[in-house]
Amino acid sequence: MQTKRTIFRSRGLPYLLLAPQLAITIIFFLWPAGQAVWQSFLREDAFGLKTSFVGLANYTRLFHSPDYLNAMQVTLVFAVSTAALAMILSLLLAVAVDRLIRASRWYTTLLVWPYAVAPAVAGILWWFIFNPTIGIMPYVLASVGISWNHLLDKGDAMLLVIVAAAWKQVSYNFLFFVAGLQSIPASLREAAAIDGAGPVKRFFTITLPLLSPTTFFLLVVNVVYTLFDTFPVIDATTEGGPAQATNTLVYKVYMDGFVGLDLGSSAAQSVVLMAIVISLTVVQFRFVERRVTY
């Protein structure tokens, strides 16, 4: 592909045009990130009276802390389950809508709505639905003999945050899957039908492989989402409990830093998260550009 190059007469103008974006990036991203890195080498008392340089002590303590290792495990379970649930659900919806001819735009519009709901509001919504005292779902579940209490049961709590977080993400995935499905020429599926493949076989041998660029992109986006953007959902539903069962890495950063006031450890945790997101991004760019295009 040929890129069009614009030639600027003065050397200053391009920099001037870039300046606002650069300023935002520097002030709101690079600077705090740099501060976090610096902070992660420091140790501060709870009242902020004394700060001392401790080198990598925050990190070594972190990786020896059972709480942190637990948070990692929780995050892994949470991220994988949420991404899987959100993607499978949205793919099913997308396939269903793709089969419609007339009403598909209506369904698409309706299915996109959850994305517009603020994460904290979504969290509250699910909190109400599943509230063991006043919620409708525990009542319904109790009538079929399932006792639900996410305030006491670790499994219930995890399930709740997974459902709440996945629900938010389904809309986003759905849109991409619908677009992906519509970009597969109908003649391919027709050719496969003539070639003797039934609907299920067609889906798994033709549609799914051709969707793989979309699927891979969404996988990375969803994992990043569950790792970093699910703070409001967790804060509004379980607050990391019970007994740390839903305390993910990003929620722990907040708890340790702003609630526990252990700023050094919190900063170290942020740096670890930063490293994770950077490596995920690298993986995405490498893969998307190479393997999954046709």
């Binding site: 003649s187 027709e190 050719a191 496969a192 003539i194 003797g196 046709y294």
Partner: protein
């Protein structure tokens, strides 16, 4: 291999739009039939109804002895070549060819034998392990053909398979398709909007217009005796000249000339092929014409004329000199006379 019988076939979409109606075609075993017509005439719909990709709302399609109306595409024992080839982009050429056989549970050794055989016939053996995107348009076309022939189906269906190729490749692929079909002897239905492609490929032509059959016949038969002005103007290049005329007392008056004809009196349309036109000799009935411009085709030159405000094209040998005012004539036997409704009446 099988005959295909189409009886009173019709397709009405929900909402009442009728795509095709009242189609009767008997396709003999081993015959190459071309469905031709302008875009929107229903030829693709008709083909897709035979394939089972479009639901039949009226009439019947039989492949061999079986009525296939309610059968899935896979059960109809047909293979189709699509306009955009519809090769599976994530599979190698070999996988593309064997996909249909694998789905039918053909033994591995048999698949390998048939794929190799098809690759040999189509000369695509060298790139069996490539993905479709690594192939040129002509090679993709061959793979699409290969996918059809490995199946050894009762019939081939072609949906404008050459329209994505450049002009030169189109001509050579056309020849190959014809030769291949003759060799395999498989019944074939071929859709195109290109009348030249239709003429050169077909055992029999089916000219479609607005969802109905206008004429069925061997290419030359259709060319020599078009049943209507529509067919006359659609088949043949340049399009047949069509002048307004009037018949009175056994004499046709057209373009300032009088010719004897045996049709009922009244207003008529008179068709004349460009190659049937020639310069009038002394004493011959002549149509006076004014030369507008000349198109040089190399082997011949096409004179574009104006006759009583109507356009007329005549073909001449390359060395023929043409003056601005000229007298043209045509043998009465080469005239095509159509009534006011566009139907042939002579």
């Amino acid at each position: 291999m099988a005959a295909i019988t189409i009886e009173n076939l019709g397709k009405t979409y929900t909402g009442g739009v009728s795509a095709v109606r009242g189609i009767d075609i008997d396709i003999r075993d081993g015959e190459f039939v071309v469905l031709v017509g302008p875009s929107g005439c229903g030829k693709s719909t008709l083909l897709r109804m035979i394939a089972g990709l479009e639901e039949i709302t009226e009439g019947e399609v039989r492949i061999g002895e079986r009525v296939v109306n309610r059968l899935e595409p896979a059960e109809r024992d047909i293979a189709m070549v699509f306009q955009n080839y519809a090769l599976y982009p994530h599979m190698s050429v070999r996988q593309n060819l064997s996909y249909g056989l694998k789905n039918r549970g053909t033994p591995k050794a048999e698949i390998a034998r048939r794929v190799d055989e098809a690759a040999r016939i189509l000369e695509i053996g060298a790139y069996l392990d490539r993905k479709p995107r690594a192939l040129s348009g002509g090679q993709r076309q061959r793979v699409a053909m290969g996918r059809a022939i490995v199946r050894e189906p009762a019939a081939f269906l072609f949906d404008e398979p050459l329209s994505n190729l450049d002009a030169k490749l189109r001509v050579s692929m056309r020849g190959e398709i014809r030769a291949l079909q003759k060799r395999l002897g498989t019944t074939s239905v071929y859709v195109t909007h290109d009348q030249l492609e239709a003429m050169t490929l077909a055992d029999r032509l089916v000219v479609l217009r607005d969802g109905e059959v206008e004429q069925i016949g061997a290419p030359l038969e259709v060319y020599r005796r078009p049943v209507s002005t529509f067919v006359a103007e659609f088949i043949g290049s340049p399009a047949m000249n069509m002048l307004d005329g009037e018949v009175a007392g056994g004499t046709l008056r057209v373009g300032g000339a009088s010719l004897p004809v045996g049709v009922a009196p009244g207003k008529v349309k008179v068709g004349m092929r460009a190659e049937d036109m020639r310069l009038a000799g002394l004493g011959e009935t002549a149509i006076p014409a004014r030369l507008a411009y000349v198109e040089e085709l190399g082997a011949q030159r096409l004179g574009h004329f104006e006759v009583e405000g109507q356009r007329l094209i005549a073909a001449f040998p390359a060395e023929q000199a043409l003056s601005d005012e000229i007298a043209l004539t045509v043998d009465p036997s080469a005239l095509h006379v159509f009534g006011a409704d566009g139907r042939r009446i002579d």
